[in-house]
Amino acid sequence: MKLKFNALKTLNILLIEDDMIEVMKLKRATDSLQLNHKIIEANNGEEALQLLEKKDSLPDIILLDLNMPKINGIEFLKILKADDRLKFIPTIILTTSNNQRDLLECFKIGIAGYVLKPLKYEDYVSKIEKLLAYWSINELITV
């Protein structure tokens, strides 16, 4: 198992999430899965946009929560997709909302995935594992 994971690409992940425990969850999950991905945190959309200004160190993928203060997830997504460079970064929605309207809207704007946060932590770990494994084997656009 370990060997297999090590063979995979190390991802730069931008996690945009206002909930502190959610951040802890992702970190602990990747830790316990012994994945070497680099997680960059942003507590909200504004902060994330600031981080993304540095075009030389862009993340490989973005994990985005929808319900956030200030700029919400969908607004952030629109800004992202309007940018000629940033629009190529795969953005995966990570949320508890299974609102059909949100789902539709996100796919309309352009997302690379929509993952519901399950109640059970162990289910969460399992989903994160698969998600990151998938993106680790993907070819991504770099600068």
Binding site: E22, S97, D102, Y121
Partner: protein, 659 residues
Amino acid sequence: MSKEEIDILKRALAREKASRKVAEEILELKSAELWEANQKLSRAYSEVESLLSKTDSQLQGVFETIVDAYVVADINGHIIKMNQATVSLLGLKDVNDSCNLMELVKPSEYNNVYLAFNNIYKYGGSISDLLVNITTKDRRDIIVQINASVIYDNGVPIATQGIVRDITKDKEAEEYLIQSENRLSTLIRNLDSGVLLEDENRKIVLTNNKFCDLFEIPLQPDQLIGTDCSNSAEESKDMFVDSKGFINRINEIIEKRDLVVGDELKMVNGSILERDYIPVFSDSKYKGHLWSYRDVTLRRKYRQNIEAEREKYRSIIANMHLGLVELDKEERIIMANQSYLNMSGYSEEEILGKVGKDILLAKADRDMVEERMYERKKGLTNAYEIRVKNKQGELRHWLVSGAPNYNFNGEIIGSIGIIYDITEIKALHLQKENLLLKLEKSNDELQEYAHIVSHDLKSPLRSIDALLQWIKEDNKEKLDETSMQNISHIETTLEKMEQLISDVLEYSSVGSDNSQNESIDTNDLVNDLIRILYIPEHIEIEVHDKLPIVSGDRTKLQQLFQNLISNAVKFIDKPKGKIDVKLIELSEYYQFSITDNGIGIEEKYHEKIFKIFHSLNKSKDSTGIGLSLVKKIVNLHEGKIWLESEPGNGTTFYFTIKK
């Protein structure tokens, strides 16, 4: 021979000579007389002959030029002699043409004609005015009148001569006369004037229906013929307002025998009659008179009626709440009622002669109104809404119904508009629309809100679960049995909480109508559901009837059946469970029923169980929302839900769905 003898002979000779001489002289004389007589005779004969020939040719001329056809025929009917008139009458070639007259007679009349001629041959006499239908040589059917007599030779009849006249036209004229007489009498009988013709003895000769009507005579006009009228004025005087005057006037008229036209009579029943009197003279001898009566009540009242009608409509127009405006061809106002003035805010003086749309119409509607006016000039009637600025500057909404106005010759002379101020209605309408929009928006917001709330509520649950797992992981050896059990309780509670939030969200979503109505085969839907749902071994589900295709929302209908079947499964406490799904088709609804043999529900709860958060049995998988959701879905499909239950024996849920 002796001398004596000779002398005797000589004397005898001399005597003889002398007597012969006398005889010769007599003969000579007689002969001269005879010659003379002969001469005379001869002269006379030639005179007679020339006379005869003269007469003959004269007669011939007469026959030839006579207007009527003259014909002589032998006793068999063969023409011996005829004139030109006969030729043309009978359609022959010329006067020498041969023809048998009997062949022209119509077969039906042949016998009659034969008998008539036979009669005069036998007994003499002549035929006069015999009418015969014949077919001429040139195939014309005509009626002829024959006058004929027999020609005798030494007392033997050898021929007939006669005059033949074509009276076809006369016959037609006669018939025409009869017809026109009939027409005339029908006309008189049904004339709208009462007619009474009396003879010089005041006996009725002719009258008609209208006369009987006017004088309320309960008889047919024919029954009155011959009736004496000398007392009739007296009899009918009471029908007239001025009964005395009525009688006096009639007597006066009859006395004078002068034409009277247009006497006016007022009747007691309110009718007004007009009477004419026409005396009839023949060869300046008085032969009677004609009365004619006309009911002129309507005509007299016509003007009055028109005035009244006009007044009526004037007052309707003036007082109605609809604005009425009449425009000429140039769209100038030529008439406006009070309501129109009130609506527009202008006075009559201010508005008459002005073009309404110039002073009232909001700019935005000009093009539309011009289009409508154009249509109206082509004869179209139309109705449309316009926005108007009245004199006070207020914006008003008017509903205009316009129609072209025609003159008596059917030419368009302008238009008439009826106007209804719909500003208030419009405002209400707008208000309603706004409210609907608002409602829609707030429904949307509520929906959003429910999602956000559920998200916000669910997120902490996830955090708690994660934290719990970490506590367990980080303290694997340190936590005792009780603590581990408590943590497990917390986990269960979290799950319950999660379910509750999901159910509430679902319940609130059902109302928001983004549902789509489509045809759903409930038979397939229920059978699929039975396959998918977890149904324990000891429970049997049976669908008894073929379930119908209904119009509804698939997801919701699925939820409806799922909740009811799951419920049934959940509350079965018997070792052998049975769930029956049945259908009854009603006129406007399908009635479904789902029966279980479970624990049953006490009647006092039958209403309550459909209320939200009203779970009777608090259990891990019962949030108390399921049945309220079911009720909501049934209501959305315009149906009802109710139940019958015997505690301990089972429950039947019934619900209807509109066809």
